[in-house]
């Protein structure tokens, strides 16, 4: 497995693979890899000839006061996991390699960047869109794989890739979950034992919402109330950032649940912010 620290190295690897007629599946990550990432590697390996993973904790998508410094980092463990799962090359640039001084180009994905998580994380999705555009240009993948847990991220990346005509197919894979339903996340390790006990209720509230919608399509408002009550009872230490019922395409709030809906929420346990969502068909 190639471990490339420079753009030059990974580009040479990708170009020579393309020249041999091989398709590249790409999984961009911030490291601290877990079974959610592994499911993306497997999806990429099933759909493409070879898999390239990037590991880069992207400063530009963290806001002031967010957990950039504390974000978990474990490169040796990450590389071992990549090796175990048939990844062909890992791109692990440093800050200087990705963001040399003098950059002036700014990219935003209007509207989508200010909904859901965007309200409490201004600039986050501009940072995501920009680093993904850079990584697409560096790696030149045929398909790129993202987890559904970060649903808004997948909508932003799809929009950016379509608007700028990136020749990359965006593939969204199901959220990996622990046996108690909690979405697997690099940030889960920061939950206290008590918070960890309460955290599965985030998924529990979504399950409850999905059941309600499938059974009797109640108004969005009613669903949100029931979810709030569920969380108050089962996760009293969780501070709700938002619970929203939105159009899965453009993330705008919707009132009725007759059509396809995305139920999304963010809940903070201490300083650890968890997000999760469920998509319910029409």
């Amino acid at each position: 497995m190639l471990v490339a620290k420079t753009i030059e190295e990974i580009r040479q690897f990708a170009c020579s693979s393309h020249r041999e007629g091989k398709t590249i599946g790409f999984v961009p990550t911030m490291g601290a890899l877990h079974e959610g990432h592994v499911s993306l590697f497997e999806a990429a390996a099933a759909a493409c000839d070879l898999v390239i993973v990037s590991i880069f904790v992207n400063l530009t998508q963290f806001g002031e006061g967010e957990d950039f410094a504390q974000y978990p980092r474990n490169l040796p463990g990450d590389l071992a996991l990549c090796r175990e799962h048939g990844v062909c090359a890992v791109f692990t640039p440093d800050e200087e390699e990705m963001y040399p001084p003098g950059r002036l180009t700014e990219m935003t994905v209007r509207e989508l960047d200010s909904r859901l998580c965007g309200r409490s994380r201004p600039g986050h999705f501009a940072g995501v869109a920009t680093v993904v555009a850079k990584l697409f240009n560096i790696v030149g993948p045929d398909k790129a794989f993202f987890g559904a847990k970060d649903y808004q991220q997948t909508v932003v990346v799809r929009r950016m890739a379509a608007d700028l005509n990136f020749p990359v197919e965006i593939i969204v894979c199901p959220t990996a979950r622990h046996s108690d339903g909690l979405a697997v996340s690099s940030r889960n390790i920061y939950l206290s034992p008590e918070h960890r006990k309460q955290a599965p209720s985030v998924h529990g509230a979504l399950e409850l919402a999905a059941q309600l919608i499938r059974r009797r399509r109640p108004p969005a408002e009613e669903i949100v109330s029931i979810m709030r009550e569920h969380l108050a009872n089962h996760a009293p230490q969780g501070a709700i950032d938002y619970i929203q019922i939105v159009d899965p395409k453009d993330l705008t709030d919707i009132r009725t649940t007759k059509r396809a809906v995305l139920v999304a929420l963010a809940v903070k346990f201490g300083t650890t912010r968890l997000i999760d969502n469920v998509l319910v068909g029409p």
Copy 2:
């Protein structure tokens, strides 16, 4: 010569050329092709295995009240010229193909976009950067060729391509000129006979500046005064938008001319705005 109206067609052509190991030289244009463009085709043909040209009058780089509707269009003539000069494929998308509804991604190249022409053309360089990024993703060129007449455009495109890691080499070719020195431009046809007579003084003023700088490196202020006087005498109907002496790298104003400088200006004859520049080494 392939004439492709869709992204799908030109992408297939470019991909199969790449698969055959051929390098692609790309010349993005707004049509109304002239000998300036031809010099870019020739430079592209000399440096690459095949040449792709795009012809698209990009609405997003025209401001309100600018000449989008009046911009000269001559597709049959353009295609004939491309055929004559060994162009392999021309991409001529319509508005809908390049900008389908629903786009939300915005790109700007801060600072560079507000200097020189950017002062009187807000949004122009954001439009240029965006359409060039799209075209790079559509055509996938190895090298892209731009004329030095639009010097600021070349600086903006270089910055954007570097910041987003586009795997494209940007090559800037010398400005083509009529025998009287006037820079060849699609907009020259709109000059009245009297304006056409006075227009070469735009280049004359630049030549004068270059001579002065090479001879005795006077302060920028003095050069600008001399150029203004030259234009007042030789192009009395020309309204000066700006004359600036700037750092060729970042386009910031400079006072002394001891190092490399770019002398740039924009002059309006009636509604026709002409730009030109000269780069003088240290």
